[in-house]
């Protein structure tokens, strides 16, 4: 027990720290003499790139200590009068060792039984870029970055309220990744924060290198293709969620924040749904709902109609379908599957290749190979149209992770339709609907507010398939604390 405590004898501390960071070439361990008489032995430990010895707080601290005598240094340390706001005094060796790993410098001074953790530049990160996904036409495009602290600051920049709270915890037994739970006090339901902490603490894993790992380990229904956390790369989206009474989980080294709880409707919404006028916002949202349905069902519906229920289509259209298929060597289902898989291959290749080459893949794959496949009678033109339209629909779904669920389930429906026609399609859709009906995200039914709208006095129905004008959206959604539901009120008539 005693060995864990930082000793007032600096040589003892040096020995322990040298042992801990043996064979760690990136960690600098410097012994130095401080004080105006250079008679106070000190020991500084830091990661090379995280500390700037020039004009940073560490540099200033060292300069300051060099102006004091041995007694004065002792007094300054005891009274916490280093003149820097966020210096932390650590009593245990383990804390000091972990402190170094957070990107701060740790200073041991002879005769003082605590170590001083002094923040400096910290770890290098990419900086703030435009969000890659969830693009909007109107509104900020500031995206979250790899640094958890910068991400928290980006959110706080948008909500300058002391009510924005950040709970810090660590995840990953070995990675010791910083995780922030951000919420707005008073708006969030207290039990939500407790539940988030409980879920984040219920597993122990070596490393959390991205928020995606947290997401998968905390989900209630791990087997569901539908995400139960809402990933976002947008700072404004995260800030908006806090104002709705939701919580945001940020993980260090991840540019993706997790919003929770979430529901189907939230995945279809975009940030500019609230920045644009209600008419166009409603129209675009309706388009996204329709496209999400087509992204799931269109190839399956095509198979059901052409293989089983030809009576639905007008004769001329059906005959052109039949003519287009003349000479194609594969059954329609195989043709659809081949095209779908080719499309997925193009997509994957486009993502993995560097930027400009990714675009080339689209042109080569989509135009040249597609045309050649039609000319060679490997696929019929109508199937190319169906698959392209389906792909277009899946691109209209604003959230990539959510769209993935539709991409995968589409194959299930294709299989069922090829086997049982329209009955198979209905069966698959009903199965998906039943699955969605039992899915919850931190207690909120996934189909909210299409179901259970009564729980929030039907207020959430104003912002579903359509979005009423902002002046009618006076109440916060179902996630918010019952005690503070009003988000908009007009001060006086005419204002």
């Amino acid at each position: 027990m005693e060995e864990k405590q930082i000793s007032s004898l600096i040589d003892k501390n040096i020995a322990v720290m040298e042992e801990i960071y043996k064979d760690c070439a990136d960690i600098k361990k410097k012994q130095m003499m401080l004080g105006k008489n250079k008679d106070v032995k000190a020991y500084l430990v830091y990661i090379e790139v995280t500390v700037d010895m020039g004009t940073s707080s560490l540099g200033e601290t060292l300069k300051f200590l060099n102006t004091k005598s041995k007694e004065e240094i002792q007094e300054v340390l005891e009274k916490n009068a280093l003149g820097i706001s966020d210096a932390t005094f650590l009593k245990e060796i383990e804390e000091a060792a972990d402190g170094v790993l957070t990107g701060d410098a740790v200073l041991f001074i002879d005769g003082f039984c605590e170590a001083v953790k002094i923040p400096d530049d910290g770890y290098p990160s990419m900086g703030i870029f435009e969000a890659d996904s969830e693009k909007v036409v109107r509104g900020s495009n500031e995206g979250l970055c790899d640094s958890i602290k910068q991400n928290a600051a980006l959110i706080r920049k948008r909500i300058r309220s002391p009510k924005v709270k950040v709970r810090e915890m660590q995840a990953g037994k070995k990675s010791k990744t910083n995780v922030y739970i951000m919420y707005m006090e008073g708006l969030v339901k207290p039990e939500l924060i407790e539940e988030i902490e409980r879920r984040l603490n219920r597993f122990e894993i070596d490393g959390v290198l991205d928020s995606g790992i947290l997401e998968q380990l905390s989900e209630e229904k791990w087997y569901s293709p539908f995400p139960q956390f809402q990933p976002t790369e947008r700072a404004d989206r995260a800030a908006m969620s806090l104002l709705e009474g939701r919580a945001v989980v940020l993980s260090d080294n991840s540019p993706v924040g997790l919003i929770l709880p979430t529901d189907y409707n939230s995945f279809i919404k975009t940030s500019d749904d609230y920045y644009n006028r209600w008419e166009i916002a409603s129209f675009e949202r309706l388009i996204r709902y329709v496209s999400s349905f087509f992204a799931l069902t269109l190839p399956a519906f095509y198979l059901a109609i052409t293989n089983f229920h030809t009576q639905i289509l007008p004769t001329s259209l059906l005959l052109s379908f039949a003519n287009a298929r003349e000479g194609v060597p594969f059954p329609a289902v195989l043709e659809v599957l081949l095209m779908e898989l080719s499309f997925e291959l193009l997509r994957e290749a486009g993502v993995r290749l560097p930027g400009a080459m990714g675009n080339t893949i689209g042109i080569v794959g989509g135009l040249i190979i597609g045309q050649a496949a039609v000319d060679a009678n490997l696929v019929s033109p109508i199937v190319v149209i169906v698959i392209s339209f389906t792909a277009l629909c899946s691109f209209a779904i604003p959230n990539e992770e959510f769209a993935t669920a539709f991409r995968l389930l589409k194959f299930v429906l294709i299989g069922l339709s090829a086997w049982l026609g329209y009955f198979g399609l209905l069966t698959g859709l009903l199965g998906i609907l039943i699955h969605l009906s039992r899915l919850r995200s931190f207690g909120i039914p996934y189909l909210t507010p299409f179901v259970g709208a009564d729980l929030n006095d039907y207020q959430d129905e104003r912002d579903i398939l359509w979005r009423l004008p902002l002046r009618f959206l006076k109440k916060r959604p179902i996630y918010a604390n019952e005690k503070d539901k009003t988000k908009l009120k007009f001060k006086a008539r005419g204002n």
């Binding site: 069966t427 009903l430 609907l433 039943i434 039992r438």
Partner: protein
């Protein structure tokens, strides 16, 4: 947070009960009711719904006295042992009902969508139901809450689209059936509302019992209204006699409805979704409560702690039992009949009596089932390019020969023949003139569901000649004839008889259909005359003018051009004709039955010789028109054809005559006289 508390809201309860009530009743009621009470079936729906409401009031009284769940309440009220027996009865009854509903559901899919593999379909349905049950009542209620408007809106749109095909004359007369027949029909309607008996069991899932009653009441009235409208549409579309012979008229109706714009040819397959989801809802509810009751009973009787997965295995067993029952219902007619009798005389009365006695006394679950698929084979579709889509069908041989040829041509070369896009059926006159052959043909075509009911029927002297003429046409014969009929500037397209109309008329025996008679003019088919078809019999060829007059009287002409004399041409349009009936005493004292046709239309003089007095000319033309119509009608009556089709109107206007001619059908055309009263608004 938001606990899974197995509680549903009032709106969810209302939508759940609506789905439970709608599917089975909409599928089963129309044809049963048409058999029981014909046109008076409409009152059967009203009475049946009212009966359902009374039953709900009874349940409301029970709900008010209940504290806790219904099962416990039964035991407390009747005593432990009788209570257990009653619970067992309910459980078994619900499972048999589930079996029956599952059989109807799978049969509907087999007949209307896939045409094979009953056991496979049944297995898939029950796997889905099993999955539905495992999500609990909350999950299912959410599914129906979402689907409510997604299903009801298309249904209402389909009702609107069906309106142009409704002939209101089929609605009258009413009050023709015996009271017992109407009451019988009403009881049938009430029977189809059997899902109401699930309401007491639903009580433990709805926080406020009064709200549960309100949900039930609203659902009942909504479904009652939908059935009322549906029955009126079906009655107007098929007529009561034809309606009574159609197995699933609500589904058949969808195949008759044409969507404006022509982007969908037939919507019956798509609209099938409504019955799919509603029947699924009912099946889930029955199985859910049946399984729950049985599990409760086992727990109650064994008094031992069940294994962790007891609920899952109980659901598996119950679902398997329902599979067996449904298969037996489908394959064993007598077993099915036995259950129907039980349902009629014991089951439903039991569910009514138990709440009554209660009042008196008080006053005083996935993977396992997928194994099913291993025992079953898939359905092999035929690729679209491997199908032949005939658009015209010629009938020239005898029925038996035709049936054989029909079956032979179901596979044409290496392609499967798909009759879904048949546009025209060409029947040779010598075939048309033999009623027994026509009856056989109509029966055969009715059995083959892929033949569209809206395929036009035309006749000709030599069908082979028409087929040969196809080579000289710029499009297939079927398409050519269809365009010939539909692109007329004068006649509305719904005027021409379809195979569905022929079938109906064979049953209803109410009107005369004029079947276009095709002949080759300049090597192209043209309508040169019309064959009158009445009560399932061909009555001979009539010249085009005569048929056009009949169409005009029935308001089925866009415009009607007449040549009254040399160089005298008029055009009549915007017709609003009315037919009334009157008795006229002749000088000889004989009472003549008059059919008065009040013709009211716009008129335009197309060409006339010079006349000084315009008003006189117009008056003269009006008289000429009336005279022309009278003569044509008289000539047709002499051949036993009533161009006005007035007999169809008798039920609503002249009950006494209607009753008389029900038994003296053939005398009608002999005993009536048709008088025209023409009013023309002349336009420039």
């Amino acid at each position: 947070m938001f606990a899974m508390n197995d509680q549903i809201s009032e709106r969810q309860a209302m939508r759940l009960i609506t789905f439970d009530l709608l599917g089975y009743s909409a599928i089963m009621i129309p044809s049963t009711l048409a058999k029981d009470a014909g046109r008076d079936g409409i009152f059967g729906i009203v009475l049946g719904t009212f009966g359902g409401f009374l039953y709900l009031l009874l349940l409301r009284a029970v709900l008010r006295k209940m504290d806790g769940d219904y099962e416990t309440y039964l035991e407390r009220s009747f005593g432990v042992f009788p209570g257990l027996i009653l619970r067992l009865f309910y459980a078994v009854f619900f499972l048999f009902l589930a079996g029956k509903v599952a059989a109807v559901f799978a049969e509907l899919v087999v007949k209307e969508l896939l045409k094979k593999q009953f056991r496979l379909i049944l297995g898939i349905i029950l796997v889905l139901v099993f999955y539905g049950i495992t999500v609990g009542i909350e999950g299912r209620a959410r599914v129906y809450e979402i689907l409510f408007w997604i299903l009801l809106l298309p249904l209402f749109i389909m009702f609107l689209c069906a309106l142009p095909t409704v002939d209101a004359d089929y609605w009258t007369p009413v009050f023709t059936e015996k009271t017992t027949a109407v009451l019988n029909g009403a009881y049938h309607v009430f029977l189809c509302f059997f899902a109401l008996c699930l309401i007491p069991f639903l009580a433990e899932f709805v926080h406020d019992k009064e709200k549960l009653y309100r949900s039930g009441r609203n659902a009942l009235f909504l479904v009652g209204t939908i059935l009322f409208v549906l029955y009126l549409i079906l009655l107007g579309m098929f007529g009561d006699r034809a309606l009574s012979t159609i197995e699933y008229p609500a589904v058949t109706m969808m195949s008759r409805v044409q969507i404006t714009g022509g982007f969908l040819k037939r919507t019956d397959a798509i609209m099938f979704g409504i019955w799919f989801f509603t029947l699924f809802a009912l099946l889930c509810s029955l199985l859910f409560f049946g399984e729950r009751l049985l599990r409760g009973l086992f727990k109650r009787c064994s008094r031992e702690t069940f294994c962790k997965n007891a609920g899952f295995w109980c659901t598996v067993l119950v679902t398997a039992a329902v599979y067996g029952l449904a298969d037996t219902f489908y394959r064993n007619e007598s077993f099915s009949q036995l259950f129907e009798n039980f349902f009629w005389y014991v089951g439903i009365p039991f569910t009514v009596l138990v709440p009554c006695f209660l009042l008196i006394r008080k006053k005083g679950r996935t993977a396992v089932l997928l194994l099913f698929c291993l025992f079953l084979n898939g359905c092999m579709p035929t690729e679209v390019e491997d199908r032949e889509f005939p658009v015209a069908l010629t009938v020239s041989t005898d029925t038996e020969q035709f049936a054989k040829e029909w079956l032979d041509t179901l596979v044409s070369g290496n392609k499967k023949v798909d009759y879904n896009h048949l546009k025209v059926i060409i029947i040779e006159r010598k075939y048309l003139e033999q009623p027994e052959k026509m009856s056989g043909l109509l029966t055969l075509l009715k059995q083959e569901k892929s033949v569209p009911l809206n395929a036009y029927v035309v006749t000709t002297e030599d069908a082979d000649a028409l087929e040969k003429a196809e080579e000289k046409l710029d499009k297939p014969l079927g398409n050519y004839v269809e365009e010939l009929l539909e692109r007329s500037d004068e006649i509305k397209k719904e005027t021409y008889p379809t195979i569905g109309m022929l079938y109906q008329e064979k049953e209803n025996c109410m009107e005369t259909l004029f079947i276009p008679y095709l002949s080759l003019v300049d090597e192209k088919p043209e309508v040169v005359a019309y064959e009158a078809y009445k009560r399932g019999e061909a009555e001979g060829l009539f010249e085009t003018d005569t048929a056009l007059l009949s169409f005009f009287v029935a308001d089925r002409m866009k415009k009607y051009e007449l040549q009254l004399a040399v160089n005298q041409y008029v055009e009549l349009s915007n017709t609003k004709n009315e037919i009334t009936f009157a008795k006229e005493r002749e000088k000889s004292g004989r009472v003549k039955k008059q059919v008065r046709v009040a013709v009211c239309c716009d008129g335009k003089i197309l060409y006339q010789t010079y006349s000084e007095n315009e008003e006189e000319t117009k008056e003269w033309l009006k008289q000429q028109i009336a005279e022309y119509m009278t003569q044509k009608t008289k000539a047709a009556l002499e051949r036993k054809i009533d161009l006005t089709n007035s007999r169809k109107k008798l039920g609503g206007s002249m009950r006494e005559w209607y009753d008389y001619y029900q038994t003296h059908e053939k005398a009608y055309e002999e005993e009536i006289e048709v008088v025209y009263d023409v009013t023309i608004n002349w336009t420039e």
